[in-house]
Amino acid sequence: MKKSAVFLLFIGAVAFTGMALKPPAGVEMAGVGVAGVGVARVRIAVPVQSALQASMARGKQVYLQVCLACHMATAVGVEGMNPPLIKTKLVLGDKAALVKIVLNGMKGNVDIDGDTYHGVMAPHSDLTDQQIADVLTYVRNSFGNKASAVTPAQVKAVRATNK
């Protein structure tokens, strides 16, 4: 982890790292073109960084289209209606639970960190595993949040046992 972070700085990448990121399967070859860098490290570091960046960028687009209308551009939510997505237990906590909220939606008097919310969130099961992984990775690493990325495989697993 430490090694990876140091190395990311070394190659001048944007300093934005998730915790405990693992290189996604099948991308070992992605960083080969970077000159003057140890191949072994490139295989770990460069794909990790670009994968996270790419996921965040895609996730942001999903957020803008799907989430922003209720949770607001800065994720502050709406008091009493739509929960904030900033450092709440649901956002930073169990990833499977978070994926389920996206898949199933949420409604009623929902208590989140001591405040009650009445807004209605529609199910977003029409989003792909990749889109859900991306948007949750984006949310968990934006607005002051810092938490591990969500992978499409994790979403797929939750979807398979959902309901």
């Binding site: 803008l64 922003l68 209308a69 209720c70 607001m72 551009a73 800065t74 502050v76 709406v78 008091e79 009493g80 209606m81 739509n82 409604k107 009623g108 008097n109 208590d111 001591g114 405040d115 009650t116 009445h118 209605v120 969130m121 529609a122 199910p123 029409d126």
Partner: protein, 455 residues
């Protein structure tokens, strides 16, 4: 399952199905709708402020507002704060104020505030009622209050004290509360009738609520038991849907409503539908969706139909437009059988309080006009949010003149907070005091109540 229950067109059939034991959240029971105990315990009001608005910030780090903005000659005083979730409010002829809370405060959902020494601050504060809710009203020696499923009433003595706070009569029971538009706003006429809003538990009556591509249900089964105003007898216990007392239909959700004594009729403010752009981006862009549809004022009579969910009112085209879930394209009109609003306001401002002013303290132009508390929008993002103010609508010959003006502003705490929606305060309930001042509640966690007076 629940869906099929509501395919019935008749209320009686619906009720039979419901009563046979299908589990509906909140049905039959008179629970308060899941309110939480507030941790606030600072009931004691702070010193009176008689010059403009004094926010007495309870958390100075997050409080940025300096004052309410009012027309010349008006002043606002902070009566109390820390009544989190202060919704509607009623004032007795002796000045006793009753406020209904959407969050329990020290286990109580209704508070009586009495300023017995006339210093502008209540010195006798008593709480009762272990349920949360929105509606409250006083009529003919009784206090009426609603949870999200029931309406109760409490006998008042000659000093407008509640005689038996632990044992109210249940006037209406078993109203639907399904996690969306649950608050049961109430008002009464002067002929022994109680009017209760039962909001539609849906945005636009789609098969799957708020889901893109999901069609509108036709006929909309929600209208059997929600999406309208129901009329009940003010003095008869244990009434419910079975009495076929629907007064008006085709109303998505009403929070602000008041009996207009000048016209002897019921006026309501509808919360218009959300998410035109989210659900139909090919028809409406974000700017259009921020303004549409209008928030509408309706004058209701027995049998009124305002058209929800099949139409919405477009205040730019001045037309009832076919809802996109029912085949609309933003231009097709429909709802020929539905009445027009008497007035239309910009979209999503969330009118939560309506008060016809009958006092003599304010200048003459206010007499018989309407104050409306706009809670403030959220469904305008990514466009700037709006609202968080109390407006005044002049009336002439029982009709709104069509003009409106912002009466009290800056509840949000500044333009940035208005635009982002991160408002410090959200005006909700309105009531007129015996001296002709008006009260305004704030249902945020900060829970202020202001009194606005002239000269």
């Amino acid at each position: 399952m629940q869906q099929s229950v509501y395919q019935s067109k008749r209320i009686s059939r619906t009720l039979m199905c419901v009563l046979t034991g299908i589990s509906l959240v909140g049905f039959i029971s008179c629970s308060g709708g899941g309110g939480t105990n507030s941790s606030d315990s600072t009931a004691a009001p702070k010193d009176s402020s008689t010059v403009a608005f004094d926010p007495h910030p309870s958390d100075s780090a997050t409080m940025l507002s300096d004052s309410l903005k009012l027309p010349a000659g008006f002043t606002a005083t902070t009566v109390v704060e820390n009544f989190a979730g202060a919704r509607h409010i009623a004032v007795a002829p002796n000045g006793a104020v009753f406020v209904k809370l959407a969050r329990l405060k020290d286990g109580k959902g209704i508070y009586r505030l009495m300023d017995s020494n006339g210093d502008g601050k209540p010195d006798k504060i008593t709480g009762f009622g272990d349920y949360t809710g929105t509606g409250i009203a006083i009529r003919d020696g009784y206090l009426y209050a609603s949870s999200d499923t029931c309406v109760y009433r409490y006998k008042l003595d000659s000093g407008f004290n509640v005689v038996d706070p632990k044992h109210p009569e249940k006037i209406v029971t078993g109203l639907l509360s399904r996690g969306e538009h649950e608050p049961k706003a109430i008002t009464l006429d002067y002929s022994g009738n109680l009017y209760v809003n039962i909001g539609a538990y849906s945005n636009a009556c789609q098969l799957q609520d708020r889901q893109k591509g999901s069609p509108g249900q036709k006929p909309c089964p929600i209208l059997d038991s929600a999406g309208g105003i129901w009329q009940f007898k003010a003095d008869q216990p244990n009434q419910t849907y079975g009495d076929d007392r629907r007064y008006a239909t085709g109303l998505r959700n009403v929070v602000g409503l008041d009996w207009n004594t000048a016209t002897n009729s019921l006026f309501v403010m509808q919360h218009g539908r959300d998410q035109l752009h989210d659900l139909f981006p090919e028809i409406w862009d974000t700017k259009q969706s921020a303004e549409l549809p209008a928030e509408c004022m309706y004058e209701l009579h027995k049998g009124s139909n305002c058209g929800y969910p099949y139409i919405f009112y477009d205040q730019f085209q001045h037309k009832k437009i076919l809802a996109p879930e029912y085949g609309g394209d933003g231009k097709k009109t429909a709802g020929e059988d539905a009445q027009d609003p008497v007035m239309a306001f910009p979209g999503h401002l969330a009118p939560n309080g309506l008060l016809f002013y009958t006092g003599s303290q304010f200048p003459a132009k206010y007499k018989n006009g309407a104050f409306i508390a706009f809670h403030g929008s959220w469904n305008r993002a990514p466009e700037p949010q709006q609202g968080f103010f109390v407006v005044f609508v002049p009336f002439s010959n029982g009709k709104p003149t069509g003009k409106w003006e912002v009466f009290a502003n800056n509840f949000s705490g500044g333009d940035d907070r208005t635009a982002s929606g991160a408002a410090e305060h959200r005006p909700c309930g309105l009531a007129q005091a015996p001296d002709g001042s008006i009260y305004v509640t704030d249902d945020t966690k900060r829970g202020f109540i202001w009194k606005i007076s002239y000269k």
